[in-house]
């Protein structure tokens, strides 16, 4: 069921969608299983905790509920960009999708985000299932080729990859019968600057405000971790290539082609104009620093003169002037 997609569409996913789906799932899960009681007396709380934890344990053995929703965004040419999502009401036992709810929600979102339209739907779970196809077909009257975004909510600390997969539907002929099946597609994470900063802020709980030193440290730490990632990825590539050279790993020409095209793109920008612009920007920043220092100095001098005037004021009516050395 999960072969590679051949539709040629590129998908871009915004982090907001991922956080949305995760929040939806957490909400539904916590409403179903009673949390430890929020009473003030500690003994009551602990006894309740014990009770509820055992209940919680039982609940965890039941499969966690699946949540369903709709993803919206824009499609420009061959690029599909998923910006946002909202919840839907779907009953898996009767396989009925609440249409009026969907339309209502669509209307509401259209008012605030007039450019977005329904691109597909999402759900949680570990793998795409046959029953999902019904939901998929139900959405096909809104969008002829909807997407299916699947989030795996199981927290696996050893996992290195984002547990989000995007499926498309394709018509394949299996055993002589044309059937719609899900095929996986690749996607990239796309973001705007503001989104990136707030995700960073929440993910790493960066300090707000503070002295200039802490701000500088925060900025540089961010860049440092990014460069570390870059470095580790390059090492992996390097090891792979060395292995290929030695003959341990079979040569794969498509990968070699990709690597060589990447290498040929360096240096990234090399032209007279770039150097000029870059140096001009550099000089502008230095100029601003110079001006700021000027302002700082004149402010300090002003304060000094004020203090001098206050201390050695010869026109003061008070008796007893301080001695002037």
């Amino acid at each position: 069921m999960a072969s590679s997609s051949s539709s040629g569409l590129t998908f871009k996913l915004h982090p907001l969608v991922i956080v949305n789906i995760s929040d939806h799932y957490t909400r539904v899960k916590s409403q179903l299983s009673l949390p430890p009681s929020l009473t003030s007396t500690s003994s009551a709380a602990t006894s309740n905790n014990n009770n509820n934890n055992s209940n919680g344990g039982e609940n965890n053995q039941n499969p966690p509920p699946r949540v369903y929703g709709c993803v919206i965004g824009v499609q420009r040419g061959r690029t599909v960009e998923i910006f946002n999502s909202f919840e839907l009401i779907y009953d898996p036992s009767t396989r009925s999708l609440d249409r009026s709810f969907l339309e209502k929600k669509q209307e509401l979102y259209k008012k605030v985000f007039p450019h977005f339209y329904v691109l597909g739907w999402y759900s949680t779970g570990s793998d795409a299932q046959e029953s999902d196809m019904h939901f998929h077909k139900a959405l096909m009257d809104i969008n002829e080729s909807p997407l299916y975004v699947l989030l795996n909510p199981a927290i696996n600390p050893a996992q290195k990859d984002l547990p989000v997969t995007i499926y498309e539907s394709e018509l394949h002929v299996i055993d002589g019968v044309p059937q719609l099946i899900f095929v996986r597609s690749s996607y990239t994470i796309e973001t705007v600057e503001a989104e990136r900063i707030s995700v960073d802020h929440v993910a790493h709980l960066k300090p707000s405000g503070g002295s200039a030193a802490t701000q500088l440290a925060a900025q540089l730490t961010g860049i440092h971790s990014a460069i570390k990632m870059l470095n580790s990825r390059i090492r992996v590539l390097h090891q792979y290539l060395v292995g290929m050279q030695k003959g341990d790993i079979p040569c794969e020409s498509s990968l070699l082609r990709q690597v060589s095209s990447l290498l040929r793109r360096l240096p990234a920008v090399e032209s007279e104009k770039f150097q000029d612009d870059f140096l001009m920007e550099y000089n502008d920043t230095l100029l601003i620093t110079y001006l700021a220092m000027f302002t700082n100095c004149s402010s300090t001098m002003n304060e000094l003169v004020d203090k001098f005037n206050t201390t050695y004021d010869r026109h003061s009516r008070r008796g007893g002037r301080t001695a002037f050395i």
Partner: protein
């Protein structure tokens, strides 16, 4: 990994209060206890104490939505509502949604237009399983800081009379992008005629000249609340994994290019303030030198702080540009060939 050690050392030195990594049992904050909330509504402990609510907890989702919405408005103010619940002296914001209204700075009760939208949205949300009520509103001040203007203060006072508990949140998306950290403030107004017992020292922020009067007149009528953020265990996990794809964006972001207009505006505003300060200082030399005036910083000192802030942001932006230049452009200078990956092209998963 020594980067982890370095981060821990830095966090210790700067007294970063790390929220302990939430485990599944602490996701209890997401549980909506209808009975407890209804009881709290009845008791109204805030009616007697205007300073009752002191803290705000914002969920990761709400923050993301609000910032993205505020940024999408560009230079136009946008507004929306927040949903959540209360917890003792804290207001918890679980979610936020945008309202199809623009430009609240000219209308006191812009929410009248959006009532139908709000009712529809709340109804659909309750059906979909989000049971919380509206606990506040947010709007954006693109480029001029997080504070409540005169109109905002009157709107919020009205809200606090009829829709308690209610919170006002202001976001500045332009400053967020320029400074690299989220500019957000949460406020509640004092009731009419109430004098706050002490003068809380708020964090200084620079206000443009054309708004500074509006700020000064009303700044004593409201107080700011502490903001903390929370996220679920699944959120934590996902955000960690997201970093594996995200580092490319961090490296390729260029704040200098995006915010050129804003910086130019700030500098020209600073120049005007400087002229004003010059006039003020020229006159004050004649006046008496007796009265103590060190409570308020002098105009010039404020300007110095502003200029330092602008410069700092510029320098940060330039630093990232220089780093990128060294990483990706200096291949010709290095003796060993390096298999550098070119900047903004992420690796496609195959």
């Amino acid at each position: 990994m020594d980067s982890a050690i370095a981060q821990k050392t830095w966090e210790l030195e700067n007294n970063i209060l790390t929220v302990e990594t939430p485990d599944p049992s602490s996701d209890s904050i997401f549980y909506y206890d209808e009975a407890a909330q209804a009881k709290f509504q009845q008791e109204k402990p805030w009616a007697n104490d205007p300073h009752y609510f002191k803290r705000v907890k914002i969920s990761a989702l709400a923050l993301l939505k609000m910032v993205v919405h505020a940024r999408s408005g560009g230079t136009i103010e946008v507004m929306g509502l927040m949903q959540g619940k209360t917890d003792g002296d804290a207001i918890i914001v679980m979610d936020a949604f945008a309202l199809p209204v623009e430009g609240t700075e000219t209308r006191v009760n812009a929410q009248a237009d959006a009532y139908e939208y709000m009712v529809d949205y709340s109804q659909t949300n309750k059906q979909a399983g989000r049971l919380e009520n509206v606990v506040g509103w947010y709007h954006s001040h693109p480029g001029y800081g997080c504070w409540l203007s005169g109109i905002d203060v009157s709107t919020q006072m009205l809200n606090q009379q009829f829709q308690e508990p209610f919170l006002a949140v202001v976001i500045d998306p332009t400053r967020t992008v320029s400074a690299g950290k989220v500019e957000i403030g949460a406020f509640r107004t004092y009731p009419e005629g109430y004098k706050p017992p002490d003068d809380p020292i708020s964090e200084y922020q620079t206000i443009p000249l054309n708004k500074i009067e509006d700020f000064g007149v009303h700044c004593k009528q409201y107080y700011a609340l502490d903001i903390t953020y929370f996220k679920s265990s699944l959120d934590c996990h996902l955000l960690d994994l997201l970093w594996n794809k995200y580092w490319v964006n961090t490296l390729s972001s260029s704040p200098l290019l995006g915010n050129g207009d804003y910086v130019a505006g700030q500098i020209s505003d600073l120049a005007e303030k400087l002229e004003q300060a010059e006039n003020q200082l020229a006159h004050s030399r004649i006046g008496p030198l007796g009265p103590p005036r060190k409570k308020e910083e002098s105009q010039l000192a404020k300007i110095t702080r502003d200029s330092a802030k602008i410069t700092l942001e510029q320098v940060h932006g330039l630093m990232s540009q220089v780093i990128k230049d060294i990483l990706f452009n200096s291949v010709r200078q290095s003796s060993r060939s390096q298999n550098d990956q070119s900047g903004p092209e992420p690796m496609i998963e195959t």
